[in-house]
Amino acid sequence: MAPPSDTRRQYHPHASFYPIAANTRVMGMTIAEKILAAHAGKDSVSPKEIVDARIDYVMVNDVTGLPAFEVFEEFDATPILEKTVLIQDHYVPNKDVASAEQAKSMREFARRYGIKNHFDVGRGGVCHQIMIEEGFSAPGRLIVGADSHTCSYGALGALSTGIGSSEAASAMATGELWFKVPETQKFVVDGEPGKYVMGKDIILHIIGDIGVSGSLYKSMEFYGSAIESLHLSDRITISNMAIEAGAKCGIIPPDEAVFDYLKNRVIGEYSPVYADEDAEYEDIFEYDASEIAVLVATPHLPENVTPASEIDVQIDQAYLGSCTNGRIEDLRAAAAVLKGKSVHTDVRMIVVPASKSIFEQAMREGLLKVFMDADAYVAGPTCGACLGGYMGVLAEGERCISSTNRNFIGRMGHPNSEVYLANPAVVAASAVTGRITDPEDLLER
């Protein structure tokens, strides 16, 4: 489907550029290239080059952890303790005996090797939120995680990317991993976003434009006044969904918003990395944020974007949570819409703050009361519903408006159920009316 308005002006700045041999590279480097070069102990790297790079952290969750631990036992090694992070989030509190056994394997692995960075039920939350909140993520770092949304930490200027379980085990043992240096695409978003336009709408607009494989294997770099004006939370949403365009990472140059956030939080030192003036980009895409609508991605791909005001679909469930939109800013945006109203009688709304600290803050701010007064169900952090695991699984034919990142076939339940992706304010407005609703239209009523 075509994007709602063609705000893209694309050009190829290097169309007449002459090719140079990789070993005589004279061009500057992008952020991803610089971070990979620094971690591979090289002065420079070029796209497509394969390098062995030292990683700063490797993270696994309860689902991807079990296969990693099994593989790890083959190595006759001990994990590099300070680099290993274990986070229970997908199926905890456990949904059944099998998931309980799986979570137990993580506890046993942590105990066996004395891994301190183990976040269990009641002490953590959704893995990517924890990787950010607990100070593992910082500018210039190279972080891998056995979860595809590991790319979220690009919002803090890190090169972070998803990997598999076996290679997570390998990284725990060796502290290194192979990387193919990606080409980099530059996305420039200028202008002032509309009142209810959030980071979610900006990234959905971009994915709607370039498609779900538009950045396949590439590094996305985000620039422009609209990106700079966004709160860190909205930037995390943008980096988080880079994978939905197929990207390896989605990096935003770090600024004061990031440095302030990291004060009294970050573990160890860090040094921000910025692209060179003459860095080589494969493509440059430009957008005007004032022309980006409040969007919904319809089933079954995140690229199927339509303005929320132009779609009329009845919903059965409204889900607010996840690594994409489960932060305090997201809960505030939803509560602002929901305050003094009630969830439609034919809808169940589920609110899942992404971490313990977000839950506590939402409680202090009275947001949980707003949700509960509106008859929403509020639960502790887990990934459960987002991936159709538990805590909000859809029945046949049901539709969910969701602040999550994927609307694939059967993603949240029955293969004939449907997921519509949107920002938290749209989720709240839709919960009230029982149909997909632009918050602007709700407040006009």
Binding site: V71, D76, A77, I163, V212, G246, R411
Partner: protein
């Protein structure tokens, strides 16, 4: 890795995501045989029942998109799939497959369900024996050939031995 294989085709379209390959509710084990029982369950319920050892998947672009779950290529290996052919692959799926020894071929092949393909990995050639159409594909970088041959586990052991 075998240099030459011949197998029956399962045809899929574009953007086959890992939720289709193995739904998340089954991600409570890493066992490839167990996972294979539910491969493509939501979108192609006949797959797990009818797939046989040595079969090949031919798909459209962006195969394996979505989650990082290594359970996806493990489910395919467990089901007996010996190669996946697609014009492009999602990057984590690509890494996972190489790491666990499932060969992937980047090639746009015209084949229908049940066709029999002959793949020569050494020469980079594919022949659809039903249509006689031939295709070529570039060989993997040496680094990845070594990784695919040795497997990630062996590769990591060697690295650990070298660094002591």
């Amino acid at each position: 890795m075998e240099k030459y294989i011949k197998g029956r085709v399962w045809r899929f379209s574009e953007n086959v995501d890992t939720d289709q390959i193995i739904p998340a509710i089954y991600l409570v084990t890493g066992d490839k045989q167990e996972l294979a029982k539910h491969a493509f369950e939501n979108v192609r319920p006949d797959f797990a029942k009818d797939v046989s050892d040595g079969d090949i998947i031919v798909a459209g672009p962006n195969f394996g998109s979505g989650s990082s779950r290594e359970h996806a290529p493990r489910a395919l290996l467990g089901a007996g799939i010996r190669c996946v052919i697609a014009p492009s692959f999602a990057r984590i799926f690509y890494r996972n497959s190489i790491n666990i020894g499932l060969p992937l071929v980047e090639c746009d092949v015209d084949a229908a369900d049940g066709d029999v393909l002959a793949i020569d990995f050494e020469d980079g050639k594919i022949v659809n024996t039903n249509t006689s159409a031939g295709y070529t594909f570039p060989s993997l970088p040496e680094f990845l050939v070594d990784l695919l041959d040795a497997g990630l586990i062996e590769n990591t052991k060697r690295k650990l031995t070298r660094t002591g």
